[in-house]
């Protein structure tokens, strides 16, 4: 190995300390997180897989709606609704990216490199959130648009839709993906372990809503309304039940904020 390393000695003079203002630190921290997120292949694979599954699923649902419709069943619906039905594939992919954004740093030890470069722990958390939220918005909107076109083509006259319907689906999906991924990011920052974070994520996002009603207690059943999955469903489908999109946005933002809060407290007081 030694023969491949030809080394030189740095002969620069002492560099000046930073003259940049403190304001630059936020942009730099975000650029850092963006470089890390896009610099690893697993991010690309997760996103590509999620995209293919979503678009493939949309095609099937659209075609199935058309076939059923042609056979006299009442299955016609606006194409954006077909598109958002398969957004779960993308959601899982984006959420896994959110999980690994923190847990991979702990398992690889790169969390120390991160904190040496950006010692403000809150800033690290916010920078990661901004990058993930932006990625979620772009991917979510793009997939709903593409999915709607795919479903509309496959469903033909059984998938006609209006502009506002498409707009709601795009914005709702983007917001729900972004807020859910920020929630998961906060949990990942607090729990550190990949397995623990994924388990928590599935319990809170998917399992609780079917488990809580089993106990037959009204308050537990009511609680289901305020789980992130329910709020995300309202945002994505623009449903009016159990509450409108504004409440849904507030509920989901609350979960995202709570996740970040837990993540921040854990980061703030932990030795790395």
């Amino acid at each position: 190995m030694s023969s491949t390393h030809t080394t030189t000695t740095p002969n620069r003079l002492l560099g000046p300390p930073s003259e940049r203002g403190r304001a630059h630190r936020w942009g730099s921290a975000i650029a850092f997180e963006w470089t890390k997120l896009t610099g690893v292949r697993s991010t690309l694979w997760l996103v590509v897989t999620g995209t293919l599954l979503t678009l493939g699923g949309t095609l099937l649902i659209g075609a199935s709606a058309r076939a059923s419709g042609e056979n006299g069943f009442e299955t016609a619906a606006p194409a954006p609704l077909f598109a958002v039905q398969t957004i779960s594939f993308t959601q899982v992919a984006v959420l896994l990216v959110a999980v690994f954004a923190f847990t991979a740093e702990y398992s690889s030890g790169s969390i120390r490199t991160t904190l040496l470069s950006v010692p403000g722990r809150g800033r690290v958390l916010i920078a990661k959130s901004v990058v993930l939220a932006a990625m979620s918005v772009v991917i979510g909107s793009a997939l709903v648009l593409l999915g709607t076109l795919t479903a509309a083509a496959a469903a033909a006259e059984y998938g006609t839709f209006t502009g506002p319907q498409l707009g709601h689906a795009v914005l709702g999906t983007a917001a729900s993906l972004a807020l859910t991924s920020v929630f998961v990011l906060g949990i990942a920052a607090a729990l550190r372990s990949t397995a623990g974070t994924i388990l928590t994520m599935f319990v809170v996002l998917y399992a609780l809503s079917s488990v809580l009603p089993i106990f037959g207690q009204d308050w537990l059943t009511d609680l289901v309304k305020y789980l992130p999955g329910t709020a995300a469903g309202v945002l994505v489908t623009n449903a009016a039940d159990p509450y409108g999109w504004a409440t849904a946005l507030a509920v989901l933002a609350g979960w995202a904020g709570a996740g970040l809060g837990v993540g921040y407290l854990a980061l703030r007081y932990r030795d790395i």
Binding site: F32, T35, S42
Partner: protein
């Protein structure tokens, strides 16, 4: 300059670092020594803001690490273990770090060349050997051209070539006026590299002195002499106040004050010397003298296994 002022880290009742007060000066390589578990790494992590302090303060160029704007322009650190995502290339890893502190992109290829990884910049970190990982850590530390460097066991995993290189690197960084603090358990390596030593055991400071002073105080000098007239010359040396023991070969082993007079005494008394060698002062001896009684994990000879009773 790194200033530790009453730095303390407690885990429950146990103090890993106990009221450590030391200033690490620029322009020198300062070796940071101590037995395993003495608190060297904990101290370094507190200086770097990774571990919270229980009491006291650690400041670099007058500020806490977390208060430095673009800290990599002031401090470069090499900690043990992997420092990046295994799926990321070396270049991308360093580029992210450069962006985080507003450093010029051009620094990335420059430091890759400096550490000898210029040819493998596009390889992913997961494929790197321990030695390459160590070199990459040094590249990251040099990225911001910092005035202060902290290196925790930097020669771990390096081949002899790499060990020699890093010794030269640390010497040249200190010669440029930078502050270089390096921990190591390789005493011989440290003896060749460090100008100044800070030694701790059980988190407490036991020495903070220049290498030369420490060796002079703690490592007894000794000379070995071969001469055809051994008994007669031994008597001469003893009269001059030295203590002499005769070895098997038969060489004379001399300790005590005035060893530098031996050659002159031989000339004066007409003795032929076939060998006159002075033992190099040993950091190992000085170190064991300072820390030996206070080892946290002392070893015992391996005995015969006990029968279960």
């Amino acid at each position: 300059m790194i200033e530790l002022d009453g730095l303390t880290k407690a885990y429950g009742p146990k103090k890993a670092v106990d009221n450590l007060t030391v200033n690490i000066q620029p322009g020198k390589v300062t070796g940071f020594l101590g037995p395993n578990g003495a608190g060297k790494s904990t101290t370094m992590r507190m200086v770097l803001g990774l571990d919270r302090t229980t009491a006291g303060r650690a400041r670099i160029t007058g500020r806490r690490y977390v208060d430095l704007v673009d800290p990599l322009r002031t401090v470069g650190a090499v900690l043990d273990g992997r420092a990046g995502h295994p799926g990321q290339s070396a270049r991308s890893h360093l580029l992210g770090i450069a962006r985080s502190n507003g450093l010029a992109r051009g620094r990335v290829p420059a430091v890759l060349e400096t550490v000898g990884l210029g040819a493998v910049g596009n390889k992913r970190l997961g494929t790197f050997s321990l030695g390459m990982t160590q070199r990459l850590g040094i590249a990251a530390a040099l990225l911001g051209d910092p005035a202060v460097l902290l290196l925790d066991e930097p020669v771990n995993g390096l081949d002899p070539d790499g060990v020699l290189w890093i010794r030269g690197l640390m010497r040249s960084l200190a010669a440029q006026g930078r502050t270089v603090l390096v921990s190591s358990h390789l005493l011989s390596e440290m003896q060749d590299t460090a100008d100044h030593l800070v030694i701790i055991t059980r988190g407490r400071l036991v020495a903070d002195e220049p290498m030369t002073t420490l060796l002079a105080k703690r490592s007894a000098r000794a000379a070995t002499i071969r001469t055809p007239q051994a008994p007669a010359f031994a008597a001469v040396l003893e009269r001059a106040g030295m203590s002499v023991t005769t070895g098997a070969d038969p060489a004379l082993h001399v300790t005590g004050e005035g060893l530098e007079e031996i050659g002159a005494l031989a000339f004066e008394h007409g003795h032929q010397l076939d060998e006159l060698s002075f033992r190099r002062p040993s950091l190992e001896e000085a170190y064991l003298d300072l820390t030996g009684a206070d080892l946290e994990y002392t070893s015992r000879p391996v005995g015969s296994p006990k029968e279960p009773t």
